[in-house]
């Protein structure tokens, strides 16, 4: 079986969010970059587990980004995967990125394509669905469990107000969230091995983006907390009722 794992580079969860160039660009220079947590903890680790269960499995990683994504893709390779492909372009249009991934996926003829449920920077949650449509494949979103049964996968996915179990034949695209796998720490063998595994850089396909970011805003600063004495909790209830009018 061949698995393609989509990897995105995102600012660390605790990164300070600020913008430059008249609020048109994320101030990424002073930020620690990580593998998007959903891509790492859930989709990549689940792919590695599938390979551990069946050694004939091949895992490839793909990312869309400039050379500054190389340390991130190497870090992902240190966890697992035989080969990585970087499409050499930066973009924040989901359709543009999905089109690049779909081109890589078409070439590699993968049985299973994994994405994280969303990235923690643009929170689009769209790449998996778009790749699936571009390849005319089924797409199971927000999966928390996946089992392989021959050519079928049985997937538990989140629905509004609960979860459901889906069975679908491969090939398919699955977006992964909590429950799929447990976070792993790369070991020294993995880190050393990642240096020698191929990282192919390919040039992007010509695709016209559908959206563009005009500007960013920061939310207005909170006025500050209004503290109520622990001796008089009823005052908090009064404030919520009469001032905030929330109930």
């Amino acid at each position: 079986m061949k698995i393609l794992v989509c990897i995105s580079k995102t600012p660390d969860t605790t990164a300070k969010i600020a913008f430059v160039d008249n609020n048109t660009k994320f101030a990424g220079d002073a930020v620690v970059w990580i593998i998007n947590p959903y891509d790492e903890w859930y989709s990549l680790v689940r792919a590695i587990e599938l390979k551990e269960a069946d050694a004939s499995t091949t895992i490839h990683l793909v990312t869309v980004g400039g050379a500054d994504a190389d340390p991130i893709i190497r870090k992902a390779l240190a966890l697992g995967g035989e080969e990585a492909i970087r499409v050499n372009i930066d973009s924040n249009d989901s359709f543009y990125i999905a089109s690049q991934i779909a081109a890589v996926a078409k070439e590699g003829k993968y049985d299973l394509i994994f994405t994280g449920k969303e990235t923690i920077d643009y929170n689009g949650a769209s790449i998996g669905g778009m790749v699936a449509e571009l390849l005319d494949l089924p797409y199971i979103s927000f999966a928390s469990n996946l089992a392989l049964n021959g050519n079928d996968i049985t997937v538990v996915r989140e629905i509004d107000g609960g979860e459901e179990t889906n069975v679908v034949a491969l090939p398919a695209v699955v977006s992964c969230q909590k429950g799929m796998a447990e976070q792993r720490i790369p070991n020294m063998k993995g880190i050393m091995g990642a240096r020698t595994r191929p990282l192919k850089v390919v040039e992007p396909q010509a695709v016209i983006p559908l959206t563009s970011i005009a500007s960013f805003d920061l939310p207005p600063a909170k006025a500050g907390v209004k503290l109520v004495s622990a001796d008089n909790p009823a005052e908090l209830v009064r404030l919520l009722h009469e001032e905030a009018k929330v109930f």
């Binding site: 929170n123 769209s126 571009l134 089924p138 979103s141 983006p209 559908l210 970011i213 503290l227 929330v246």
Partner: protein, 320 residues
Amino acid sequence: MSILIFLDKADGHIRKSSLEAASYGAAIAAQTGTVAEAIVLGTITEDLSVMGKYGISKVYTVDDAVLDELDAQVYTKILAQVAAATSATVIVFSNNLVAKAVAPRLSVRLKAGLVTGAVALPATSNGFVVKKNVFSGKAFANVSIDTAVKIITLNTNTFSYSIGNGAAEVVPFAATIDVANVKVTATNKIVGEVSLTEADIVVSGGRGLKGPENWALVTDLAKLLGAATACSRPVADIHWRPHHEHVGQTGIAIAPNLYIAIGISGAIQHLAGVNRSKTIVVINKDPEAPFFKAADYGIVGDAFEVMPKIIEAVRELKSH
């Protein structure tokens, strides 16, 4: 030309979040001088003419039980047919799990630019720019959709609407329905609880409550307020509360009008899931808890002493 709103059902009824999407779509229609129409897929059990009260002039239905189960490919192809037949220029979904499965596919199929998680009406005076949450609630992006057809998924609890008069015309739509690739073999719905993502008020507990046996402090208040209950990640991880209550970065992201956090310190990962709440109340005995910086109201105090008094005061208020 029209605005097309996808209405999602829960147990045969149109979801509250879809009513928000309908009103949002109607507001775009008013802003751009066109009409708002809606589409409902699957078994219909209620009178959909009521959607007129939310500004919808016409509701198209594909009343077929096979559509009671979601197959994103099947849904996408039907919605593409409806969009073409109605010459829809903007398609609106509520940003829920159906939209997350379907809207990206529809975007590709129609070559329609997609913005997920919109928080305001689009600016249409110069182009078409939609504000959305990015960086897990820590910033907004104003995204320009540069295509003729546009798709927006609206975050829940961000667009307040008023209910008007009027009745929508309900029209069956003759769609070609493909055979589903995805088979649904089991469904596990959480029944009898207020839906966490759609709740106006959420009461949430953390490790400060010391054990699951003390959760009445959360659930009693939630019951009085008609609120949903939630918890922090550690509480779900040590199985004091079920995983579906976990809010935060790896859990569910919510944006209620009121979020009450009891015994939760407010780690950045937790804030990422709740920072879009309109009013945040924090009750914690540690005055240094980072959550107080993100809060609107707070009490520095022991939850075991404070909460019974709060519950009593709310009970008193609600009895009037």
